[in-house]
């Protein structure tokens, strides 16, 4: 296993005693450092199967732990705790409680597909990250991430009209996540755009708010997609052993 990726010793497991004398020898401070052992007893043996049942997770069983995914990962370069190889390992060995320690960052995968490009076993780690983030939400370990809220808002618009209108996606996303639309940097962007085209910008925003772009003859396609998505949701909940709420 590529241990250079991360420190295997957690700071909270490093123990020292400020005042300690053993057999007459003063071992106070770092002289008494020891590492508390970790014991994992609560395996979830179904974990790999559960993640494998969600879209993107299908090929997790192919992984042979080479670490190419983590090595090439865009987000890992920004945050070393973001470690696809390690999570795949935890999932395959059923170490759910260890996986849950990182539950709040797994959704941050940016889908750049560098891992999928590098993977020699066609695990599609990008898909595994999405399946894992989805699993965390379905199981109630995390609330819906901002990314999921964005994806759902986007998809709802496509199902409804066949197209999206960016301004509407952004407005609804900010409302749903409780963020103000008038953030300093967004206002600054609008100002810079308005400098060269005050009229067109105003017109664009005004018109888009009234007329939603839509695809002609979309109704039947939208309904068929909606039906399919609903059916798949039921299917995923069943695979994860979650009680049907409907």
């Amino acid at each position: 296993m590529p241990i250079h990726e991360k420190s295997l010793i957690r700071p909270e497991n490093l123990k020292t005693h400020d005042q300690l004398v053993i057999d007459g020898v003063d071992v106070s401070g770092h002289w008494s450092t020891f590492i508390e052992s970790r014991v994992v007893t609560d395996y979830n043996e179904a974990l790999e199967e559960e993640i494998g049942a969600l879209p993107g997770g299908e090929h997790i069983n192919r992984c042979w732990q080479c670490g190419s995914c983590t090595n090439s990962c865009t987000v890992n370069a920004v945050n070393p705790d973001f470690n696809p190889r390690y999570w795949i390992y935890l999932i395959r060995t059923g170490m759910e409680s260890e996986l849950l320690r990182d539950k709040d960052i797994i959704w941050q995968c940016v889908s750049c597909n560098k891992c999928t490009y590098a993977c020699p076993r066609d695990v599609f780690p990008e898909g595994v990250m999405k399946a894992t983030a989805h699993w965390l939400e379905l199981k109630g370990h995390t609330a819906k991430s901002k990314s999921t809220i964005f994806d759902e808002e986007f998809t709802e618009q496509v199902v409804a009209t066949g197209k999206i209108e960016e301004g509407r996606v952004i407005r609804n996303f900010f409302t749903k996540t409780g963020q103000p639309l008038l953030q300093g940097w967004l206002v600054e962007m609008a100002k810079r755009m308005a400098r060269r085209l005050p009229f067109r910008l105003g017109l664009m925003m005004g018109l888009a708010a009234v007329f939603r772009p839509r695809t002609r003859g979309w109704a039947k396609a939208g309904a068929a997609i909606g039906e399919y998505v609903h059916e798949q949701e039921q299917h995923h909940r069943k695979a994860l052993g979650i009680e049907d709420r409907t």
């Binding site: 940016v110 901002k146 990314s147 940097w185 962007m189 997609i225």
Partner: protein, 308 residues
């Protein structure tokens, strides 16, 4: 040269009707300056971008297949061109999945039937990017003959992003040796802009990620990733980053402003669509290329270089 690229079905996609409007304008302007024809796909829908696949990947495959079905079956087109990396990627991905995965075929067939249109059959259409369209429809030699202004003296970092080259398996025509595009060192944009006289700088982050998928949902990460790209371009001596994707382009623009406002880090490099740069070289006015619609002020730079 590929004669079948002279007239192609055109799939602009949602972004090119919104934030990427300047890319739409400049693509059309370059096409007409070069005598290449575009027939917009009738009643097209969103390809699913980077979002729908996270709700369900097969729905994304269906969305792209509907666009391809209209182009192939109703318009009888052989080639569809998408300038947006997201659209291009999704059409390619759908093509691959429909050719190789029975479950995808089944789902697409089921939804297509209910939607009341012909199911798209893999292999009936070739999907290309705007780069392929110009590179293989016109070529560098012909482009050179039609130049009105040389981009001489303009230092360009060519930025291709993620979706144009990754994952490799959905682009079977790439990495096929001489004349084909490379997935690790893409060069089509470099080739075209070099033919237009620009000086391409040695830019190491051609296929780095701008964090476009989380441009708003994880802005801090996106700002860091964009800053890497902007700083690397500046360090390489670039005046401008040439882009070929509306999501990358607006991501770079937005997070350049955000880095300035939130982190206090100012960068001076500009962003222009590669079609805007080619258009200028072909003598099209910057206004017709939508340069004034960009947030990043390319007009000043073009004036400074005597190109506008």
């Amino acid at each position: 040269m590929k004669p079948e690229y002279q007239r192609v079905a055109y799939y602009p996609g949602c972004a090119l009707e919104g934030t990427g409007h300047a890319y739409n304008r400049s693509t059309k302007a370059v096409g007409s300056a070069l005598g290449l024809q575009l027939d917009e796909v009738k009643d097209w829908n969103c390809c699913g971008a980077m979002e729908v696949k996270n709700v369900d990947p097969k729905v994304q495959t269906y969305l792209s297949s509907r666009v391809m079905s209209i182009a192939a079956n109703e318009m009888k087109a052989k080639v569809v061109m998408a300038p947006c990396n997201g659209c291009y990627h999704n059409l390619k991905k759908a093509e691959h999945d429909l050719a190789h995965d029975a479950a995808s075929r089944e789902t697409v067939e089921r939804i297509s039937k209910k939607a009341g249109h012909q199911t798209y059959q893999a292999g009936s259409l070739e999907t290309i990017h705007a780069l392929d369209w110009i590179k293989d429809g016109i070529g560098e030699e012909e482009l050179k003959r039609r130049l009105k202004n040389s981009l001489k003296g303009l230092k360009v970092a060519n930025y291709y992003g993620c979706m144009y080259t990754r994952p490799r398996h959905i682009f079977p025509e790439k990495d096929q040796g001489l004349g084909s595009e490379s997935t690790s060192q893409p060069h089509f944009m470099d080739d075209l802009l070099a033919a237009a006289g620009a000086e391409n700088v040695d830019f190491p982050l051609k296929t780095a990620c701008c964090g476009g998928a989380h441009v708003l949902s994880d802005s801090d990460t996106s700002t860091k990733l964009v800053l890497n790209i902007l700083r690397a371009a500046e360090a390489a001596g670039a005046d401008v980053i040439a882009t070929e994707c509306p999501t990358c382009h607006s991501g770079l623009e937005m997070h350049q402003v955000r880095a300035e406002k939130v982190l206090g880090v100012k960068t001076a490099v500009r962003m222009l669509y590669f079609t805007q740069l080619l258009g200028v070289a072909l003598g099209v006015s910057p206004r017709k290329l939508g340069v004034h619609e960009n947030v990043s002020d390319g007009l000043d730079l073009l004036k400074e270089k005597g190109l506008a």
